[in-house]
Symmetry: C2
C-alpha cells in the first residue's frame, strides 16, 4: 500500500459520513472498514477535520469547474442564455447518468445535501469558499436573464433554489406519505432534472407578491 491508502480512506470516509453523519462516524470505524491502520488518517490528513475538508475539495472543485465551463460556453452565443439553460448548466453536473459515473460521486451529493443544512459553522464556511465563484457567476447570469427582478428578490429566490437542490440531493424522501406512488428510484436522474428545472424556473420568474 502506498498512495492507495489515501484513496481508500477518502472513499470509505465519504461513504460512512453520508450514511451516519460526521460526528457518529469514528476514525476507528473508517480505518477498520477501509482495512487501513488507524494512524494512517493522521499521517495522511493531519486530523479528522482536515479529512472532511479533503473529501469536499476532491469532489466539489471539479464539479464547480464543470458548472463554470458550461456557463461560459452558454455565454459565447450572441443572445443571452435562457433561464432554463442556466439552470441546466448548474444542475446537470450533479445529475449524471449513474451507469457511467463513479458511485462515490452520487453518494457525495447526498453527503453535500445533508451538510449544507446541518453541518458545523466552520465546515459550512469552508464549503462556502468552494462555492463562492460559482454562486457569483450564476447569480449574475440569472440576474441578466431576469432583468426586471429587484436584487433582494433575486437574492432570496436563489436561496430558495439552493434549498430545493440541497434537500433533493440529501434524498430524504420526506414525501413518502403525501401519495401512494413510491418515489422514483435514484436511477432516473434525467427525469428528476426534467422536474426540477420547470419548478425552479417558474419560481424564479414568479410575479412579485
Amino acid at each position: 500500500m502506498q498512495d492507495d491508502t489515501r484513496e481508500r480512506i477518502l472513499n470509505m470516509a465519504e461513504a460512512l459520513f453520508a450514511e451516519q453523519g460526521f460526528a457518529h462516524t469514528s476514525l476507528r470505524t473508517i480505518t477498520t472498514r477501509a482495512r487501513v491502520n488507524l494512524a494512517a488518517v493522521n499521517y495522511h490528513f493531519g486530523s479528522k477535520e482536515a479529512l472532511i475538508q479533503a473529501i469536499f475539495s476532491r469532489r466539489l472543485v471539479p464539479l464547480n469547474r464543470e458548472r463554470l465551463n458550461r456557463l461560459a460556453e452558454l455565454e459565447t452565443g450572441a443572445a443571452p442564455p435562457t433561464l432554463e439553460a442556466i439552470l441546466e448548466a448548474f444542475i446537470a453536473p450533479t445529475l449524471k447518468d449513474p451507469a457511467d459515473t463513479d458511485p462515490g460521486e452520487i453518494r457525495f451529493m447526498r453527503l453535500l445535501g445533508r451538510t449544507q443544512a446541518g453541518a458545523s459553522r466552520p465546515l459550512r464556511e469552508f464549503v462556502h469558499t468552494l462555492y463562492a465563484e460559482v454562486l457569483d457567476r450564476f447569480g449574475g447570469a440569472i440576474s441578466r436573464a431576469l432583468p426586471e427582478l429587484p436584487q433582494p428578490e433575486l437574492y432570496w429566490r436563489v436561496h430558495f433554489m439552493m434549498g430545493v437542490l440541497s434537500y433533493t440531493q440529501a434524498g430524504t424522501a420526506t414525501m413518502k406519505l403525501v401519495s401512494d406512488c413510491d418515489p422514483p428510484g435514484a436511477e432516473d436522474q434525467a427525469a428528476l432534472q426534467r422536474r426540477l428545472i420547470p419548478f425552479l424556473a417558474a419560481g424564479l420568474r414568479a410575479p412579485l407578491g
Copy 2:
C-alpha cells in the same frame, strides 16, 4: 426545583442543539448551563435520545395542530381554497411575529430545518410520524387545487416545497455571496412569507416539462 427542572432542561437543550448540533452537545453542557444536576436528564427523560424526541414533540405537535386547524377552516367555505391560501396555512404558523412569540419557538424552527436534512435515520423517522397527518391533509388540498397535475408530479413538487422551507428555516444564509445586499434580518418574517408564497405557488403551478 420541581417540574421546573424539566422545562429548564428542555429549553437549554433546544438552544444548544440548534447552535451546535446534537452530537457536539453533551448532557454535561446542557445540565451545567441549565443549572441542573447531570443525573436529572436521565431521571426525567431516560436518555439523550428520548430528550431529543421530547424537544420535537413539544413544539411540533401544537404547530401541526395549528396548521390543520387553519386548513380545516379554509375548507369550510363553498369554493375550494386557492393554492396561495393553502400555502399560507402551512407556512404562517412557522413565521409568527417574533415580538409576541416565545424566542425558543424561533430557535426550534432553525433546529428543525437542520434536522430534516442532517439528522440520523431514527430521528428523521420520528419527526416523520409527527408530520404524517399534516402531509397527508395538505397533499390532498394541494392536489384538489391543482386537479390537472399528475400524482407523481405533485409528489415531487411538494418534496421541493419542503426543501425550500426546511432550508430557509435552517437559516444558513448560503447566499451572502450572490449579491451585495445583506440578507434581511430574521425580524421581518412577514416579508419572508411574502417572498416564499409566490415562489412556491409558481413552482407548484409550473407547466409540465
